[in-house]
Symmetry: none
Subunit: 240 residues, 2 copies
DNA sequence: CACTTCATATAGCGTTGCTATAGGTGCTAG
DNA sequence: CTAGCACCTATAGCAACGCTATATGAAGTG
């Protein structure tokens, strides 16, 4: 169960820490576990990495390489905002496939101590958004857009990690992603509010839905379902 | 430096924990510090709260009361989306004035263990968004909108907490906030390319009706009818 | 008074991150 | 060849951690 004795202790420590971090079910990883798996004793760890956090930082640095590699892997599609979407998705995917590493990278927030990793991720995003800005596709300075989008991206990823596996719904991610990109992009036709009739109630909403349904040939309901649905709608909207 | 001996130990423990948590500069707070400040011994803590996390949960619960009180304090302005903005701002303000408490509440994420606090904050937001939905102001089901907005809200707050005080820029918050609200609100005609406007109005109306029905306990339909009705509504509103 | 129940204290277990000290190893200089 | 010098690693152990088995006191009830 130990590591190849040929490798230098520093490397063995890094691999052991990475492995334990990846397989730990959220419980903290002790230096004793790490040094035991690496086949070295405690002082070796502190000689090479200063302290536990130093070792984790080194692991994170390697993890970040992987993260950045993922972010850069896809060739620019010529559609910067589409690339931003892919960066978002890659960010979330990274967080969900390596939740413990991600939590060390982005989750271990301490007041007034901004992890360098955040700045790196931010500039990576900003780079792509600058292209979008050049193409006149966004209505916010790239730096601010990057900060904003990254914040939302981190928030969503943390939420998804915290969620039990069985009801993890990636729609939260895509929806938030598209909301953010939509909001900063210039391609949105503003104004032209469809119905600002206001003062909506059950009745008004029912009437609106009724009209809209009949006009749009929605195929979400079968015809028999639709018939009954409309009858109920009528009952609701003709009451009160 | 100790606490009023008249108070029951449970209260003293709570206050001591809250105080140490509030004044700690991010470093962890030990049970020994807490019990010493409270003037009790270890078993007392475990008798009342089970374990350290239990005590922290209790502190958080008190903090959450404060948080909720802040969220409810302002009278509804009659403009639900404006109230959502204020809830967002209140959330950020709470996080920045009590960063350590906030980090215990929202930052201490562990894989697959979703803090109850998140669900509470979510339903608080959802409640307000339902009003917006009834008024036909949003184009996404309230629950999904709440999840999405809260995720972004948490992400932004964590980012701001991590940022050094001197260059904390609240514009990140307002910008992200408005981006999210803008994206889910119907006051903007969404990108024409991806949208069939007829179908879109069906969705909006369905969402509004759904929210209205759940809010008003209409007795126009029997409970079994209502159940099926809502199921269809859900099918319609979650399509597109 | 006897008895139960709740609340607190004494003392200590096992584990944590970390280190003072010392010893071994491989290199270069004389 | 050997002496000296960095560099690296191990032995052993400290202080602090979360937590608990056990015992003692206080308060209420028959």
């Amino acid at each position: 169960m130990s590591f190849d004795d040929q490798l230098p202790p520093k490397t063995r420590l890094l691999r052991a820490a990475a492995e334990l971090l990846a397989n730990s079910d959220g419980s903290p990883v002790s230096t004793r576990q790490i040094t035991k798996l690496a086949g070295v004793t405690a002082p070796t760890l502190y000689h090479h990495f200063g302290d536990k956090e130093g070792l984790f930082d080194a692991v994170v640095a390697a993890g970040f390489e992987e993260y950045v590699a993922g972010e850069r892997d896809f060739a620019p599609s010529g559609e910067p905002l589409e690339d931003v979407r892919r960066m978002w998705d890659n960010h979330v995917r990274f967080g969900l496939t390596q939740p413990h590493l991600y939590l060390v990278m982005f989750g271990n927030i301490r007041p007034e101590s901004r992890p360098a990793i955040v700045a790196d991720a931010e500039s990576l995003l900003e780079e792509m958004l600058s292209k979008a800005a050049i193409a006149g596709q966004i209505n916010v300075p790239p730096r601010e857009a990057a900060r904003s989008i990254l914040a939302a991206n981190v928030g969503v990823t943390l939420m998804l990690i915290a969620e039990p596996l069985e009801d993890r719904n990636l729609e939260l991610s895509t929806m938030t992603r598209d909301s953010m990109i939509f909001a900063v992009s210039t391609e949105t036709a503003r104004g032209a509010a469809a119905d600002d009739s206001g003062k909506s109630s059950v009745v008004v909403a029912a009437i609106a839905l009724n009209a809209a349904l009949q006009a749009s040939h929605s195929d979400q309901l079968s015809s028999s379902e639709l018939k009954l649905f409309l009858e109920w709608l009528h009952r609701i909207s003709s009451s009160s």
